[in-house]
């Protein structure tokens, strides 16, 4: 049977996912073209439903803004997956990352530029700590990391609101968040005069992408991580410490998601949040990583796609389409990636039929 590159399969999964979502829209009496025009609007800044308004830079900037956290959580899931781990604890790591960044932003006075960097590092550390336990239990007791990660998500949810209410200065007007961060801690906006909240945090994301690529592809540590993911027993036999690799890989994955929590807190909100539910960035990361086949460029493009789906949410709602459709598209893409074996079989059948036709013509 002929093999296909992961890029072909991901592209097909995305196309099929969009088709399935369009089908659902038709069945529920909506116009799928509205969905595509909303996506196009976020991508290019041209609103096809109102062409007279012309180009609006806010839409693409908001798209890029939405890409930042999901690229990071995608790197997180991808990193763990390359080592054979499934990091579904992104929600919790995101929350503690946001919490740690808020605490540093509020309590440690530092000069601008250095301040957000320290906040981001604190977020990374918190995320890594939160991912330590699932990694440790997987390595030492062979306990399924999925269940532990999900439990850690809910623990983070309550832990965050307890810490914020007890130890951080709470905003007395709303009682639902901390006071505003000092100006030195927030990322400077980069919005070219629009109302978008796009900010300099994108530099952090670029650094993380490079780090991911360098660690996984270029270091012997990355090689032993990949070997662990590929064949744990084989790696152990070759003298690699697979248990340590499992723990470290989970912690590095947690750090990426913690950074995502930090840059959202510093760039978008500028205050510490009391989470009442999950933001879904951690779960988005799963889609991003799998669409990108856990490779650096793949995750970059996967993140830009999922970011696009998220960014189009508001436009979709204006057109009367629930923004949950973005989640449905994601789920469909995931299902198609899960059944890629079937896709390969179908592609092979199509190929062999084409081959026969060619023979018949010749």
């Amino acid at each position: 049977m002929k093999q296909y590159s992961s890029r072909t399969i991901s592209l097909l999964a995305v196309v099929l996912g969009l088709l399935l979502a369009s089908l659902l829209l038709v069945v529920t009496g909506k116009n799928p073209l509205d969905m595509f025009s909303a996506l196009l609007c976020s991508l290019t800044g041209f609103d096809l439903t109102a062409p007279h308004k012309g180009f609006n830079l806010m839409y693409p900037l908001n798209w890029l803004l939405n890409c930042l956290p999901v690229i990071l959580t995608g790197l997180s899931v991808g990193f763990a997956y390359r080592t054979g781990m499934f990091n579904i604890g992104g929600e919790g790591q995101f929350i503690v990352g946001s919490l740690a960044a808020s605490a540093v932003a509020l309590f440690i006075p530092l000069p601008p530029i250095i301040h957000p960097i320290v906040c981001v590092l604190a977020g990374a550390l918190a995320g890594a700590c939160w991912a330590f336990l699932p990694g440790l239990l997987k390595a030492t007791r062979n306990i399924n990391e999925v269940v532990i990660c999900i439990m850690m998500n809910y623990i983070a949810l309550y832990f965050n609101s307890w810490v914020v209410r007890t130890f951080l200065p709470v905003d007395q007007k709303t009682l639902a968040r901390t006071i505003q961060f000092p100006a030195s801690a927030s990322f400077t906006p980069l919005n070219f005069g629009t109302s978008s909240k796009f900010h300099f945090g994108f530099l952090v994301v670029i650094v993380c992408l490079l780090l991911f690529w360098f660690i996984i592809e270029k270091t012997s540590f990355g090689f032993s991580l990949r070997a662990t993911g590929f064949n744990k027993e084989g790696a152990r036999y070759a003298g690699m410490s697979t248990n340590l690799n499992t723990i470290l890989s989970m912690m590095i994955a947690g750090a990426f998601t913690g950074i995502a929590g930090a840059i959202v807190a510093l760039g978008v909100y500028s205050y510490g949040r009391i989470f009442t539910g999950f933001d879904n960035y951690g779960f988005d990361g799963i889609s991003v990583a799998l669409i990108g086949a856990c490779k650096t460029t793949g995750i970059l493009f996967g993140g830009m796609l999922i970011g696009l789906l998220k960014a189009a949410g508001t436009t979709l709602q204006l057109l009367g389409i629930s923004k949950e459709i973005a989640q449905l598209i994601q789920a469909s893409i995931l299902i198609f990636i899960a059944i890629q074996y079937g896709i390969v079989v179908v592609l092979n059948k199509i190929d062999s039929r084409k081959g026969k036709k060619k023979e018949a013509n010749a």
């Binding site: 659902l24 269940v147 209410r165 629930s322 449905l328």
Partner: protein, 318 residues
């Protein structure tokens, strides 16, 4: 002591969905397919039961709640067949396809809520046909046990008891149960004895969906007044933990489920226990999840789970 007696009906009410869902997971894992989509199945079950109950109650249909439960079971079984297809026929990574279903359930339920009810949740079914608490005649007169387990519970609790017995019987006392277990341990050997691994695994996964749908309905219909995005709050995963802690055995699941039920009940009673009253509410809410981790760590030392569970079935492998 009086407090514990008082807590019992509530603990059992919260335990029943976990027990029922975990029993479903038992079928799936014993047949060799890991089903992390239990959470999604519970969401589908909870959403369907709430929706059907609201709609049928408004139409004045009698016994609407039973139709609601039936609809939940059917919807969840249909839903989980995606996972069965992917895992059994498409050699899918079972964690990925399960996660995909969880994402799908979260989006689909709320999407349908917006279409049906124009809101992010279903309408309230409190005015409709709902269960009331009942006691079991005869059994409730047994000293101590009767008072604790058979008095003033929702019917779902009794359903959970009955299902534990039925599942135990099916798994350990019937030919089908033996075949199901063999497919989860060494599917190639089962195939060599003429057991259809594909068919058995389909039955296992479909049953897990049916049970989880019932579990979701039990959770939403007995503890809430409408379905929204937070209705299930990860209890499908607590059900998986219940399955692990119960050592893939129906009686173990019963015990584990009641323990987790109690851990959730604590948050309602913590203010009336003098020793615990000063603990912040957030930490009390955290407790069931912390306990789940502790319990898994303490009791998962030996590998007692089905050996082939989660592995892709390759008939040519020996």
């Amino acid at each position: 002591m009086k407090l514990i007696v008082e807590m019992f009906p509530i603990a059992l009410m919260l335990a029943s969905p976990l027990i029922i869902t975990a029993l479903g997971g038992l079928f799936s894992e014993r047949s060799g397919v890991v089903n992390v989509a239990l959470d999604g199945c519970m969401q589908i079950g909870g959403f369907t039961s709430a929706t059907v109950l609201v709609l049928l109650s408004a139409a004045g249909v009698k016994n609407a709640i039973w139709w609601a439960i039936l609809a939940a079971i059917v919807a969840s079984t249909v839903f989980v067949s995606i996972h069965a297809f992917a895992a059994i026929h498409m050699r899918a990574d079972q964690t990925i396809s399960g996660t995909a279903l969880n994402v799908l359930a979260g989006g689909l339920t709320i999407y349908l809520c917006e279409i049906l009810f124009n809101a992010k949740s279903t309408a309230s079914f409190n005015n409709g046909d709902v269960f009331s608490r009942v006691s079991v005649p005869l059994l409730k007169d047994i000293p101590v046990i009767g008072k604790l387990f058979f008095t003033g519970n929702y019917p779902f609790t009794y359903m959970a008891y009955v299902l534990v017995v039925i599942v135990w019987f099916v798994i350990y006392k019937t030919a089908f149960g033996l075949r199901l277990r063999s497919c989860g341990e060494f599917p190639q050997a089962s195939a060599s004895m003429g057991v259809s691994v594909v068919k058995t695994r389909w039955i296992g996964v479909l049953l897990s969906g049916a049970f989880a749908g019932l579990g979701g309905a039990a959770l939403v219909l007995s503890t809430q007044t409408y379905f929204n995005v937070g209705s299930i709050h990860g209890l499908g995963f607590v059900a998986i933990a219940t399955l692990i802690f119960g050592k893939w055995n129906p009686w173990g699941i019963l015990g584990a489920g009641i323990l987790f039920g109690f851990s959730q009940t604590l948050s309602f009673y913590v203010s009336s226990i003098p020793m615990l009253a000063s603990i912040p509410s957030e930490l009390v809410n955290m407790f069931p999840y912390v306990l789940t981790i502790i319990v898994i760590v303490l009791f998962s030392g030996k590998q007692v789970g089905p050996k082939a569970s989660g592995e892709i079935y390759d008939p040519s492998k020996r």
